[in-house]
Amino acid sequence: MPQTPRAPHAYQSGTLARIVDGLRYGGGIGQWSWLAHRLSGLGILFFLIVHITDTFFVVFAPDWYDHTVAIYGGVWFDGHYYWPLRWAFRVAELGLIASVVFHAINGVGVILYDLWPKGSLYRKPILWTVQVAFWGIMLVTTPIVLYPLRKAPDQPAASRPAPPPAGVASVVPGR
């Protein structure tokens, strides 16, 4: 169908500009939930890739595996314990938990909108329930996850091991 020819100098913002502009859009809690869902999903996927890779070590290199997961406790490959590393990983861990919890709860909301015939009509209640449930869970979870940070790992701070010989480093503290 022939259509109206248009002015040649129309201003077209690029995809990125549209997205940035979109962030200023007053979509409210619905739009923020969508964004959080998307970002948490991407974050979880990133972690999943890392996690599958490190778990892959269990099959053929147990020591690699132990070294890798020891990082979560703040022990670097050189066998040293660094508290900022441990703190950073704890916070990241909390972020992961938050992502999964939010993605899960909000995902249930999305499923309700899509599969329950009346779901879309309960948008606001669902969105607020998601918020309440998420923050409720995080309120309980956060102290539990951060609790171990109150003290150094289960090793006397004084008897921190000397740098181990290169290669195999035993960082397993005495039981």
């Binding site: 999903g41 991407l42 599958i52 890779t53 595996y65 919890v101 499923i111």
Partner: protein, 162 residues
């Protein structure tokens, strides 16, 4: 009134996007239990700092419950990888043109296959290295020894789910 007043039936169209959309919702529901459960066990009941090779081995090779954990982890990995990469694909589709989409679709599916393969291989092909476990035992403090856990006392915290 007309006979059609109770509704019409139209053959569902099927199709790739419909299937993936449906899959996302169903796998999402399953993942709520699998992933949240996994996180709960690993991060709340346990402490990630205590996880090591011995822990994994004790879980996957437990005499009666090992297969459950392997099944759990295997389904978690497969569903999560498909769910995740399909999500990534859909996000990418939103911002890519036709050519880019073909690339994105192919790459995400290839990565899906790679990671399910890797994950599945680790879980299903796992054989514990007893020597290594002896050298690097479980880091978890327990009220009773693992070896005597054939009938764990009721007071034992479920610190290692087996």
């Amino acid at each position: 009134m007309t006979a059609r007043s109770t509704g019409r039936r139209i053959r569902p169209s099927g199709g790739y996007e419909l299937f993936m959309w449906y899959f996302m919702r169903l796998s999402g529901l399953a993942l709520v239990f699998l992933a949240v459960g996994h996180l709960f066990i690993m991060h709340i009941l346990n402490n990630v700092e205590t996880i090591n090779y011995a822990f994994v081995a004790s879980r996957w090779t437990a005499p009666r419950t090992g297969w459950i954990w392997r099944l759990w982890d295997a389904s978690l990995i497969s569903l999560a990888v498909i769910h995740g990469f399909n999500g990534l694909r859909q996000v990418l589709y939103e911002y890519l043109s036709a050519g880019g989409r073909i690339v994105a679709g192919t790459v995400t599916w290839a990565l899906t296959a790679v990671f399910i393969g890797a994950g599945g291989y680790s879980i299903l092909m796992f054989q514990p290295d007893e020597g290594f476990i002896k050298e690097h035992p479980l880091k978890i403090e327990r009220t009773t020894e693992i070896s005597s856990a054939s009938a764990p006392p009721a007071s034992q915290p479920i610190s290692v789910a087996r």
